[in-house]
């Protein structure tokens, strides 16, 4: 419960940073736009970490240097938001067989998770899953901020 309350607090605090990076919103009226705070947070995460998706070579699950840099930025953001959970969704190769694609997607998600944990993110903050080849797209693993359930987070309209 306490975790959820803190999450709500964190969510309510971030929209300004997401919309206008580097600018303070202090003293200005809230914009009259209703936005899902989770989506706002996701946008901030994507902007600050340079991308939520890590790409892999076909058949491979190894992290490239580019992938490691993106994950380092993801980890920095996550360290600043210790009450946010993330889910890593792995994808297999579109032309793979069904079950190998599931396993490879899970392996890619696990490699991303392990690297984030290596960079100091608590394992409890990160879950993984695999889509195999059930969602179109290139071989990849996407880090998604997770809706923890609970009451819907509705920011006040202007």
């Amino acid at each position: 419960m306490r975790k959820q309350l803190l999450l709500i607090a964190a969510l309510l605090a971030t929209p300004a940073a997401a919309q206008l990076p580097g600018l303070s919103r202090r003293g200005t009226p809230a914009p009259p736009v209703v936005q899902n705070p989770l989506e706002v947070m996701r946008a901030d995460f994507a902007a600050q970490s340079g991308g939520t998706t890590i790409y892999f070579t076909p058949g491979g699950a190894g992290l490239t240097r580019q992938a490691q840099m993106t994950l380092a930025a993801q980890a920095m953001w996550l360290r600043q938001h210790p009450f946010v959970a993330v889910r890593i969704e792995g994808r297999g190769d579109p032309t793979d067989t069904r079950d190998h694609a599931l396993a490879l997607g899970a392996e890619r998600a696990a490699q991303v998770r392990d690297y984030l944990v290596l960079l100091g993110i608590p394992a409890a903050q990160v879950t993984t899953m695999t889509w195999g080849k059930e969602r179109p797209g290139p071989p990849s693993a996407t880090t998604t901020l997770q809706d923890l359930g609970g009451p819907p987070l509705i920011p006040a309209a202007g």
């Binding site: 699950a61 032309t95 793979d96 067989t97 069904r98 079950d99 190998h100 599931l102 396993a103 490879l104 899970a106 392996e107 696990a110 490699q111 392990d114 993984t128 899953m129 695999t130 195999g132 059930e134 969602r135 179109p136």
Partner: protein, 429 residues
């Protein structure tokens, strides 16, 4: 006019003769209309049922690559005594090797007695008989059993007529595909959906007698094996918790399920009771081990592993001991399934973006490709061990095809929408 008749006659001869040249194993089967001992109004009704049964058997036998039924002629009245004493010479003259016939009799309780007889026409002797008491609505299954008796008697292999096929029914655009588990009799009848479509589902795998079905569902947020009892509709997860499990397959006696489970980045093969329990780990290699399939005697398991650098086929004992590689090609070898007669292993051959269906012996010899792709995968054997179902994707749309071991072209099955991950059961009780 007479000339035309001759021409048609000659064509008919050619048509009968042609398959015999191309495929020397095809046996012509005489199929005189089934008859009835009933008389009067009842007799006409019974002859109606008998004609339905005859047509069902014709359809069954025509689906096979090994048997070619002579088209039954309804006007070709066949007396009841002829069922047990056929005129063999008549059918011998028409090139028939086998003969299937029988009768339908109405009982006082409203049910039907259905009797089937199979004969060797060349030797003029009976090969087998089978009898059922069934409601008129169950007559289809009785006819399938007759077809199965004929197939077994004439080819030596079990028939696949009274079997089920499960597959994933697919509708909607690629980005938001709706997937449902569908189950039908192998002739397409009794088509029904076992899951509602709100969640992604994959790889239905029928129990040997077709009463239960294990599949993979994303309902809990990660892929997990679930089990459905098709008679009661009840279902439950195979294992508790949130662990990723997939690639389930029943043991030949239906008592166990072998499957893959993720542990971190590692996928290994486990076996567990068909109703759950404590899984036992069978492989420990650090790579991806998946798609396990039991040999028909339950003593061995074939699976795919990338432990050697690329996906290849391996065989191990059912307790996980003596793991050894059986495929050594440049391509990837995936999704193996052991044939019900134990002689072959079907697999998906993958090279670059191309996928084809092939077979190989359990010793790794006699490798052969059955399809040319370009996007074929997931073979599953018929009970006869002479035919397979598989998924072929064309223009982004998956469909279900049957292919015979004899080298003939794959045939697309008729289903109500797109379909993937087909799986063929053994013969039902």
């Amino acid at each position: 006019m007479k000339k035309l008749g001759c021409l048609i006659g000659a064509l008919g001869l050619l048509l009968v003769a042609a398959p015999a040249v191309a495929q020397p194993t095809v046996a012509v089967v005489a199929l005189p209309p089934m008859t009835s001992p009933d008389t009067g109004t009842k007799g006409n009704e019974s002859l109606g049922y008998a004609w339905q049964a005859t047509q069902l058997i014709e359809t069954d036998l025509r689906q096979t690559a090994e048997l070619m039924p002579l088209s039954p002629n309804r006007k070709d009245y066949y007396s009841y005594p002829e069922v047990t004493a056929p005129t063999f010479s008549k059918w011998r003259d028409r090139g028939a090797k086998g003969l299937v016939t029988g009768f339908v009799q109405q009982r006082s309780d409203g049910r039907l007695t259905i009797g089937c007889y199979v004969y060797d026409v060349e030797k003029g002797r009976e090969l087998g008989r089978i009898g059922f008491v069934a409601t008129p609505s169950d007559m289809r299954r009785a006819a399938h059993k007759c077809s199965g008796l004929a197939y077994k008697a004439l080819t030596g292999s079990p028939g696949m007529f009274d079997t089920r096929i499960a597959y994933v029914a697919e509708t909607g655009p690629a980005a938001s595909r709706v997937k449902r588990i569908a189950v039908m009799d192998s002739d397409g009848y009794n088509h029904s959906y076992a899951t509602p479509g709100g969640t992604t589902v994959l790889t239905p795998r029928l129990s040997p007698k077709g009463q239960r079905l294990a599949y993979v569902s994303f309902d809990g947020g990660v892929p997990q094996v679930r089990v459905i009892n098709l008679d009661s509709g009840q279902q439950h997860p195979l294992l508790p918790g949130n662990v990723m499990t997939f690639a389930p397959r029943y043991s030949p006696d239906g008592s166990q399920i072998v499957f893959s489970m993720m542990q971190g980045a590692n996928s290994d093969i486990y076996v567990v009771g068909a109703n759950g329990g404590l899984p036992r780990r069978l492989t420990t290699s650090p790579g991806i081990d998946t798609d396990p399939s039991f040999s028909p005697d339950g003593s061995r398991i074939v699976f795919e592993s990338d432990r050697g650098g690329s996906q290849q086929l391996y065989v191990m004992n059912a307790d996980g001991s003596q793991q050894r590689r059986i495929s050594f090609g440049n391509a990837a070898y995936a999704s193996p399934e052991w044939s019900p007669d134990g002689k072959l292993i079907a697999f998906t051959w993958r090279y670059g973006d191309a996928r084809r269906i092939g077979v190989i012996s359990p010793e790794g010899t006699d490798e052969k490709q059955l399809t040319a792709g370009p996007a074929d995968e997931g073979p599953s054997w018929a009970a006869s061990s002479r035919e397979l179902v598989f998924q072929r994707t064309e223009g982004g749309r998956p469909g279900i095809y049957r292919v015979s071991l004899d080298g003939s072209a794959p045939r697309k099955m008729t289903i109500p929408q797109d379909g993937s991950d087909p799986n063929w059961s053994g013969t039902m009780d």
